[in-house]
């Protein structure tokens, strides 16, 4: 019998391995899924930002993107569908020293979790929200989502989506987010820089990342993963500080990427301390235990 060539046994150490639960790799994401790339960019940003990683927590919801919390080697919380943001709010308020990162998907954050997103942005809760937008509900097999393009096919819109999708940066801006950006997983370096900026910035930061979903969205809409990446390369344009109301995703006309909003506003905790706990304004903020 012909011997099938196998890999060498010795595995070198990837530079990000110290932030990954390597005992759970390879992860569950499909071949060609962009979530792994976004996750990798997030880890690179966590490392490069210089923030205290022991005090950094990742909170996620349910869905393919939500699985990221299971692979990061930090305190991580895989919560209920749509409720990552209020859970993260509780963590942050109980211990303001924590750096809270919410890593979840478009369905989790904007459909079931929409209300929580709106209010956390309004309050300017100090957290960084990374939304992996693969235009559908991937984990459950490819159903229509709030971000699915008009006329796109999904398992629950087999003849085409009759709804029009959200413009996520506009929504984040309208709700009061102080940092709003959109990238694709192909623009990995820009994405990493953006996440680094968001991590180091106080207030509610939101980054939308477009990502292919080859097995569900891509397959039903005749988009191979490399085709999607080509689209990201050719049909996108970076326009920093573009008007959020003009940021609808249109694969024909082109998708605008960039850092759109970068403002400063006092956070919820700053307001709360000023009105209710003035003694904390002088001291170093620490946990509610002190």
């Amino acid at each position: 019998m012909q011997e099938i060539p196998v890999t060498s046994k010795k595995q070198p150490r990837h530079p990000l391995d110290d932030l990954i639960r390597t005992d759970r790799i390879p992860h569950i994401w499909c071949p060609g899924c962009g979530i792994g790339t976004v996750f990798s960019a997030c880890l690179a940003a966590l490392k490069g930002s210089g923030i205290n990683l022991q005090k950094t927590v990742m909170v996620s919801g349910i869905g393919c993107s939500g699985r990221a919390a299971g692979y990061v080697k930090l305190d991580s919380f895989h919560t209920t569908h749509g409720r990552a943001i209020p859970f993260a709010t509780g963590l942050k308020l109980a211990n303001p020293e924590l750096n809270v990162v919410v890593f979840s998907g478009d369905g989790d954050l904007f459909a079931i979790g929409g209300n929580h997103f709106i209010h956390a942005a309004r309050r300017n809760m100090d957290m960084t929200v990374i939304c992996v937008n693969n235009l559908n509900y991937g984990m459950t097999g490819g159903q229509v989502a709030a971000t699915t393009p008009y006329l796109a096919k999904s398992t629950t819109t087999p003849a085409g989506n009759p709804e029009t999708p959200f413009n996520l940066p506009l929504m984040a801006y309208a709700c009061g987010a102080t940092y709003v950006a959109r990238w694709t997983m192909l623009h990995t370096r820009d994405l990493t820089d953006s996440i680094t900026e968001a991590l180091c910035k106080k207030g509610f930061s939101f980054i939308e990342v477009l990502s292919p979903c080859p097995v569900n969205y891509g397959r039903r809409n005749k988009q191979k993963p490399l085709d999607m990446l080509k689209l990201y390369q050719e049909k996108t344009i970076i326009k920093n500080h573009a008007d959020p109301s003009k940021l609808d995703i249109d694969f024909e006309k082109g998708i605008i990427l960039g850092k759109f909003i970068d403002l400063d506003r006092p956070t919820f905790i700053e307001h709360y301390d000023k009105i209710y706990r003035p003694s904390r304004l002088q001291e170093n903020v620490s946990g509610l235990n002190s």
């Binding site: 890999t7 595995q11 990000l16 790799i25 390879p26 071949p31 060609g32």
Partner: protein, 95 residues
């Protein structure tokens, strides 16, 4: 690289070099690193890894410029590059 006119300091330009390391068992054969390597230094190997995918193999190791793009685009943490000592050797040769 095609120059319309060769710059006067062309011989002092130092190109970084890299060595690509591949964690073959993590690869899922998506092909992103191969497609987007700016030097086309990678291609699918004929080997299979434990899960049955074809991991990449470096076909032009001398072309790698340590841009790290394969490392950052890979969704699987299966490939990375490190700076090669070759750069230092060139530096030493010039001094």
């Amino acid at each position: 690289m095609e120059f319309w006119r060769v710059p006067l300091d062309a011989d002092t330009i130092q190109v970084s070099r890299g060595i690509v390391h591949i964690l073959e068992d993590r690869c899922k054969g998506c092909g992103y690193c191969i497609e987007y390597c700016p030097k086309q230094a990678l291609e699918f190997s004929a080997n299979f890894n434990q899960k049955g995918y074809h991991p990449p193999v470096v076909i032009k190791p001398e072309e790698c410029v340590n841009c790290h793009y394969c490392e950052i685009i890979c969704p699987e943490f299966a490939i990375f590059s490190v700076e090669s000592l070759q750069t230092t050797e060139v530096e030493q040769a010039r001094t």
